[in-house]
């Protein structure tokens, strides 16, 4: 077991290191770095010597290898460089914006899970007929809707037409209702899809027939025997759902004008603020890797069948 944990942690660290390196190569090592782009602008009226001095101040003039070593050392100590646009440390920007994005994404995740369970439960109610296939096709509809358009439409319907949620100066929580819904809908789709597929699969297992033969009702079988078995595999896509949540945050924060990591990323692209984007890319890769690692390590604890298998291996 210890060896398994050790190798999985090692693998995760390797992926993380490679993600950092790729993002570094993509974003930092290219000719015409961000410092040059910003200060070459004639508006600043700087001459070549002054630009060289600024580049030296930003550590942008060393060799690529030197910069790489320098940057990786800084990242390890939590120093993500300076935002050229805002003129403050990237770590300060992240610290200021992270809480609101985590709150938004957390609420959206809860809403998505609820929605997915509702879809799964509804489509397994007996006697639905046509309605059942409609409910089952909802996830494929949800993933076909552009998230940004969904957000705009929700504002249009709930704020402008029905006047249920104010868009101008909403309360702190009121303002989160539509953004959370906007992210939750596409995130719920994969969860619901996996739940539906798993429920169908578990229903064909022998132990379900046994339970039925003993006289259990359909509802009882679903809650008592199927639910637990169908829910667990959703964990395996946790990392992917995280990516979906993050993408949702980028788009909804832009559409709804909220502050957060998402709008920070959008602004970074607009102003070619490479340091900010790289920090966000590396941190989200770290989060993805951590989530997958946690799932891999937790799964055998939650699923005794795997634990037994692992015990045999180790």
């Amino acid at each position: 077991m210890a060896r398994y944990i050790f190798s999985r942690v090692g693998q995760a660290l390797l992926v993380l290191w490679a993600a950092f390196t790729i993002s570094f190569v993509l974003l930092q090592a290219m000719p015409g770095d961000a410092v040059l782009i910003k200060f070459q602008n004639p508006e600043y009226g700087l001459n070549a010597v002054q630009i060289a001095e600024i580049r030296a101040a930003y550590d942008a003039d060393g060799s690529v290898v030197l910069q790489y070593v320098h940057t990786i050392g800084n990242f390890l100590t939590g120093d993500f460089g300076y935002s050229l646009q805002a003129g403050v440390a990237v770590s300060a920007q992240l610290a200021a914006n992270l809480p609101s994005t985590i709150r938004l994404a957390g609420l959206a995740f809860a809403a998505a899970a609820l929605l997915a369970v509702i879809i799964a439960v509804l489509s397994n109610l007996p006697g639905l007929g046509r309605l059942r296939s409609f409910i089952q096709s909802l996830p494929s509809l949800f993933v076909s809707i552009p998230t940004f358009w969904l957000g705009i439409m929700l504002i249009q319907i709930f704020s402008f037409r029905l006047r249920l949620v104010p868009v101008i100066n909403p309360g702190e929580w009121e303002g989160l209702i539509l953004p959370v819904l906007t992210i939750a809908l596409p995130v719920s789709a994969p969860m619901a899809q996996i739940l539906l597929r798993n429920i169908d699969e578990v229903l064909t297992r022998p132990f379900v027939s046994v339970a039925r033969a003993k006289g259990a009702s359909h509802t009882f079988v679903l809650w008592r025997h199927v639910a637990k078995n169908a829910l667990l595999p959703v964990l395996t896509v946790a990392g992917v759902l995280f990516g979906e949540l993050l993408a949702g945050a980028v788009i909804t924060e832009t559409v709804f004008g909220l502050n957060g990591i998402g709008s920070l990323a959008e602004q970074a692209v607009n102003f070619q603020d490479v340091a900010v984007l790289q920090a966000i890319v590396v941190i989200s890769a770290a989060a993805f890797v951590t989530i997958n690692l946690a799932v891999d390590l937790l799964y055998p604890v939650l699923d005794p069948r795997l634990k037994a298998k692992l015990g045999g291996v180790a």
Binding site: Y4, R8, L16, A18, A19, I22, S23, L26, L27, M30, S140, V143, S144, I145, P146, T147, F148, W149, I152, M153, I155, Q156, F160, V187, P190, Q193, I194, R197, N198, E201, T204, R205, P233, L235, T236, V240, F242, G243, E244, L246, V250, T254, A265, E266, A268, V269, V274, L277, V281, S284, A285, F288, V289, N292, D296, Y299, L306, K309, L310, V313
Partner: protein, 306 residues
């Protein structure tokens, strides 16, 4: 490999893209002995599929011959016709510059669809090449390529495409490259797993046994047999690419304005959401319909192959 092999069975996921998950269920379903699903229904009894083909045909015709569908100009506005509500003359209304929205949607098909096809072509070509190399050569090359794929998959798709955009700059072509880049990893992983399983089959062994060279066997037997399941996945990726491109277009990273790209149309209409909601609603509905149609067709291809 890892204990997650059992869990792997439950997921049909090789990519961070949720659209990919709706791909045809893995063979596990049959293995369990589930009652055979209704497959390959005659086309007439599948109204959804017929509808999907019709939508795609219309969208393609829009892209190929927009002049057949409308007589207005997509870029030049009509004076005095600003922000008109839908009517017989402009049946989806006009925008703030007096341009007919329906016309802009028709002409936009070319930008949105060709961008998506180009993006998927990049992912398909590079991803397939990497997957075939990894799967057929094996050894440390396989190891390196697949770790690289793991890394690419660990970065959320949108952030990866934003990284490419910040590197290459804005524009139609760059947006397509960015979207294509994000699908390389999923293609590579899928193709590799197919190649590995085909390589183990007896007919490949027989081909080697009867004196086939490595490349000849690869070209004649392994490649064609590995690519069948890639077709359905490719179709699925087109739908996802349309969505991603419209997102980049909406954020302003794709084609510059007056281009009638669908995502950009939504972004432009957004400023008039309170007074002219159809400017935002109509392009979105078109995107949803086309993506749904592409996904439906991809699903049908996947079922037909099983």
């Amino acid at each position: 490999m890892t204990i997650l092999d059992t869990a792997e069975r439950h997921r049909n996921i090789d990519s961070p893209n949720p659209l990919d998950w709706i791909s045809p269920a893995p063979a596990a379903e049959e293995a369990v002995g589930a009652p055979a699903k209704v497959r390959a229904k005659p086309i007439l009894i599948q109204p959804g599929l017929v509808l999907a083909y019709i939508i795609l045909a219309v969208a393609l015709l829009w892209a190929v011959a927009p002049g057949l569908f409308t007589s207005y100009d997509p870029v030049q506005g009509l004076p005095g016709q600003q922000l008109k509500a839908p009517s017989a003359l402009h049946f989806l209304g006009t925008d703030a510059l007096g341009r007919d929205l329906y016309t802009r949607l028709v002409y936009g098909a070319l930008h949105s669809l060709s961008g998506a096809v180009a993006a998927v072509a990049i992912g398909l070509l590079v991803g397939t090449a990497l997957g075939v190399i990894a799967g057929s050569v094996g050894g440390w090359i396989d190891e390196v390529i697949m770790r690289l794929v793991d890394v690419l998959l660990s970065i959320p798709v949108l952030l990866l495409s934003l990284s490419i955009i910040i590197l290459l700059g804005f524009g139609t072509v760059n947006a397509a490259i960015a979207v294509g880049f994000t699908s390389i990893a999923s293609f590579a992983r899928l193709v590799r797993s197919e190649v590995v399983s085909v390589r183990r089959s007896e007919y490949v062994e027989a081909a080697f046994g009867s004196g086939g060279t490595f490349f000849k066997v690869l070209w004649r037997h392994v490649l064609p047999n590995s690519l069948t399941s890639v077709i359905a996945f490719t179709a699925l990726q087109v739908g996802s690419a349309i969505l991603q491109l419209s997102t980049l277009g909406f954020l302003g990273y794709g084609a510059p304005p007056p281009t009638p790209e669908w995502g950009l149309l939504i972004a432009e209409g957004r400023n008039y959401i309170a007074t002219a909601w159809w400017l935002t609603a109509a392009p979105g509905v078109v995107v949803v319909l086309v993506v749904l149609a592409v996904n439906r067709v991809s699903q049908a291809i996947g079922r037909a192959q099983q």
